[in-house]
Symmetry: C2
Subunit: 619 residues, 2 copies
């Protein structure tokens, strides 16, 4: 019976790419990969490169590339394959992500036929290991202002690193294996700069030596991901031909004439970045996998480890029977379910938008915003959950052989790379504000506020029956949805009003925005919370098994009520909850923990993580 | 001017052991220790052992031992010296803690003259490296029920490990260097067990080989602290003489007669544990040092790193000018100040209680509760703050050479060792409840509740003027103290009522306690919050410099208001804040961040951490 529920849950979790997930899981179960927790960095790097070659043999790296060049044209499937890699050594996942996601993805998405024909096959087979050289020491989040230059002269480009601040930094595949790099640089023709463009630049020759004019340095040991060879690159007068420019969005003719379908340098750059959104979606997905893996290990431990006897008895109590232990693991487990459904939806959105024959700008913008927000929330959730699991496993959780130290150390940088989370949440909010501006550009602040209130609340009330907020039924999903939607919209509307009011004064624009930065972040977060809840609800609706759906509904209740509990300060401040209702929410979270405790193992088993990645001495 | 404020702050932070702190700092500044972030575990262990020898040469390990045996009899000073070690390689701090704190401390506190004369000098000089063998694989938090046995026969004891579950686990100094171990075992005489006692057991001979009957295994790589050789120990029929029993609290005569001034096995065991409280205080202190170190690194980075230009300008903005960045670092910095003052007070309390000629049971109980609570709060704060600093330093914070990865990994287990934090916070609450029980044992729940309310609120109101909670002056320290005290007492009184009511029914005692476990933890936490605030207030009162005191008062305001902000759900639910006041608290936290931003460097400089421990490429 429990097994049937597990299978039914796995089916609904697997979603649209269920068949592929099944295949990948089978292969991962059949292939026993070597552990890496006890390797020194050099051995680890060598092992990861070897495993990268083994991945080529499976054909999975071809998933995301065009059929025309031997790929499979399954964009969503390629992200799903990174998600599954997220159950294993995360150095391998990141190294694969660099080679096929970032490097290969840049060639595919920013290049044209000439680049595809020349490079894509060798990229898929790993005959051309490559780097994605965007970040510089001085410009990490603000990559639009990176300072490497590509100067057009004599029918080609010269790549230069003006100073150490502009060296390429933290570049995966650079310290050991990369032969070619997609280098992002300010394109200069004559005395004009056209903004950031991407260039194919060889960095090592066939024997592995740096190319003339290229200097390479190893970034050295990191907190984790030491199987990935991050390095630094300096360029000094490195010549590449005119065709090295990845010219999907802009080109330079032989005579130096610059052409682009996008006139604004800034907009062109952000269009390029938008084309690369797949990497962000993959990081969100593998953060989810790492979280699921930690929770599987943590729940197994909590179900077997005993400590302290029941009063008047010799029988020692299983850790997961303690309310405090349930509270450490079960709300995090519920949130992990919620984020999984949001991730599924995001992958489908990415697949559909990027597989569409013509570009839908509005859909692309929603996709970028969603990817930024889900990545931020999912990676912060990974950090806090893996930390909680480590603590819940006590000293045993601190031993490297029990995998949690590696999981913690490897995922730590997920909140930073592919976009710093704080910057990403601001992107979400700015995207939402842009919608406001488009719609209400010429209205006064007051009129805007009123319109926002009417329109958005109208939209909500259309979908959901109105109710008195004072005395809700705490398990009423319609109330949950209304509460989350109302919060997202209220925070955003307040922010819009506040910025509008300040903007119409003569205040310094930076100060205005900075004073509201916590409000901005909250707006992004509240929006994503709503998106995640809606995805969970939609996921449950797809569940064919009534018993699995019943269980999922309780998990969703726990997600919602524990989120409300964590955010109850806001809900109370804004009159969305009364104090007695807030107290009931706490009590119901406890009750749900008790109710779901017997199902904890079922819920983690449903992640169906291949046993080799979750088998530890922890139980 | 700023320098004078730094010095004045350092003076008040240094407190009672200022002279010793100054000496230790001077020595640490003069001695350049080798880095450890890039060492393999074996080299790291060797380096730490070598540094341990160098520590001997300084004489500081003698601080905590009795003058009679060559020590200095300065208990508080010994804890302070561990605090200062907390600025450096934490493996060295932990290894020193094992040798002189746990092993040496157990000999001193649980042994008598015969043990002191025989062992203490060799322990201080490191001629006798030793282990503290308490934890077993099956019993970590619940050490009262560990299962190693010491059976008295033929005038001596036989030490046995009944099964793998009872092996000694995670024992520092065991895998490589320890020669002797204080082994905690169930004392068995004839067919009776007398509970846990401690025995001096040789584990290696002069050549470093395990003694007959002793099996030793290496715990292997850990998340951090890999300079410490944690190991596992099994004993099979290991004979030790009758004098091996550390017999301060119990003895066995030649004829096998057992005597103890404490009749209850449980009470005797907890008295023994209580004598060892110094270790817990030291961990709290070095967690504070690690936090200060991370914040110093993080603030320096935030003051130099720039990202994104001011609108309409080429000038890029310093990270610490962003409100979101201030919010990541400054409330954590304020809390670090608060916890430092609480730690100072705790060290003084430990020193006075343990230096007193006669034992004060009540004072000892308060000390144990305070140590448990401050350790829990300080180590959780370390984990979250170091994490926040790592994220605030972006990818550069992930590089091992920039020290944050080591700080994160090493301190991670602080929330677990010397008592799991969740267990410790429950100890705090149970201690407070015991006070209740002693005072109100024969009252009905309702009468208890009423009495509690009257007595405790009476005590508060005596000290602080009563005020309407609806419209407070947010920077009124009296209101802060009243609010924190009221919360601690309200939560505790509610808990007492709840447990009393349930206990008088025929409910299962475990279920009763377990259902209230979140309430129990909150009671412990709220009590410690109050303790910490009172310590901060007392610290400011000791500050002789008016300008430093003014700054400290603002830091205290930020500590208080950011704590209220984080806990505002509770305050709103319980009618302690109105929604408008809660919103004002958020706004004032922002305002305080802006106000304190120019002083951030001053505040971290005042920690006066020797430069070699905070100099990184991060600025």
């Amino acid at each position: 019976m429990a097994e049937q529920v597990v299978d039914a849950l796995t089916t609904v979790l697997d979603g649209r790419w269920a068949r592929l997930r099944g295949q990948l899981r089978e292969r991962m179960t059949a292939t026993k990969l070597a552990d890496s927790y006890d390797l020194d960095p050099e051995t680890h790097r060598a092992q990861v490169f070897e495993q990268l070659r083994e991945l080529v043999a499976t054909g999975h790296p071809k998933l995301g590339f065009d059929r025309e060049y031997g790929g499979e044209g399954d964009i969503g499937g390629s992200v799903v394959s990174f998600e599954l890699l997220g159950y294993g050594d995360l150095s391998l996942m990141v190294k694969a992500g660099v080679q096929w996601g970032l490097f290969g993805g840049a060639v595919q998405m920013l290049g044209t036929r000439r680049h595809h024909e020349r490079y894509l096959r060798d990229i898929m087979t790993l005959d051309l290991p490559g780097c994605f050289a965007m970040t510089e020491s001085g410009h990490g989040s603000d990559v639009q202002h990176l300072r490497t230059t590509a100067t057009f002269t004599d029918g080609g480009f010269t790549i230069d690193t003006p100073d150490d601040d502009a060296r390429k930094d933290y570049i995966g595949n650079a310290a050991r294996d990369g032969r070619m790099a997609v280098v992002f640089a300010q394109l200069v023709i004559g005395d004009r700069s056209y903004g950031v463009h991407a260039f194919m630049v060889p960095v090592r020759d066939e024997t592995g030596r740096p190319m003339p004019g290229v200097r390479i340095e190893d970034c050295g040991p990191k907190a984790g991901l030491n199987g990935v060879d991050n390095g630094r690159l300096w360029f000094s007068g490195v010549r590449v031909p005119r065709e090295a420019l990845l010219n999907r969005y802009a080109d330079v003719a032989e005579d130096g004439t610059y052409t682009s379908p996008i006139t604004s340098d800034g907009r062109r750059f952000f269009t390029m970045l938008g084309a690369l959104v797949r990497g962000r979606v993959s990081v969100a997905g593998s953060a989810g996998s790492a979280t699921q893996r930690a929770l599987t290990i943590g729940v197994r431990r909590a179900e077997t480890r005993r400590q302290f006897a029941r009063p008047g008895s010799d029988e020692e109590i299983v850790l997961l029977d303690y309310l405090a232990h349930q509270r450490k693991l079960l709300p995090a487990l519920a949130t992990t379910y919620a984020l999984h459904f949001a991730q599924e939806e995001l992958v489908a959105m990415l697949h559909d938008v990027h597989s569409a024959p013509s570009q839908d700008e509005r859909a692309q913008r929603v996709l970028e915003s969603r990817a930024a927000g889900v990545k931020a929330v999912a990676t912060w959730h990974a950090t806090s959950t893996i930390q909680a699991v480590r603590e819940a496993c006590g000293g045993a959780g601190y031993l490297a052989e029990n995998l949690l130290p590696g999981l913690k150390a490897d995922t730590d940088v997920f909140t930073t790379f592919e976009g710093d989370n704080t910057v990403l949440l601001q992107l979400v909010a700015k995207g939402l504000l842009t919608d406001y501006r488009d719609n209400f550009a010429d209205l006064s602040p007051l009129a805007t506020a009123r319109l926002v209130a009417e329109q958005l609340m109208g939209a909500v009330l259309e979908r959901l029956p109105a109710r008195k907020l004072g005395s809700p039924e705490l398990f009423d999903r319609a109330w949950h949805r209304e509460l989350f939607a109302d919060r997202a919209q209220h925070v955003l509307a307040g922010l819009a009003r506040r910025l509008r009011a300040a903007a119409s004064s003569d205040a310094d624009p930076f100060e205005v925005f900075n004073d509201a930065q916590d409000h901005v972040l909250l707006a992004g977060r509240a929006h994503i919370d709503q998106v995640v809840l809606e995805a969970f609800v939609a996921g449950i609706e797809r569940c064919a098994s009534p018993s699995a759906a019943t269980l999922l509904n309780r998990v969703c209740d726990l997600y919602v009520l524990s989120t409300i509990e964590a955010e109850r300060g806001w809900f109370l401040e804004h009159g969305r909850l009364t104090p007695p209702v807030a107290k009931r929410v706490l009590a119901e979270v406890n009750a749900l923990c008790r109710e779901l405790r017997p199902h904890a193992r079922t819920l983690v088993d449903a992640f169906a993580i291949p046993e080799q990645y979750v088998a530890t001495s922890l139980g």
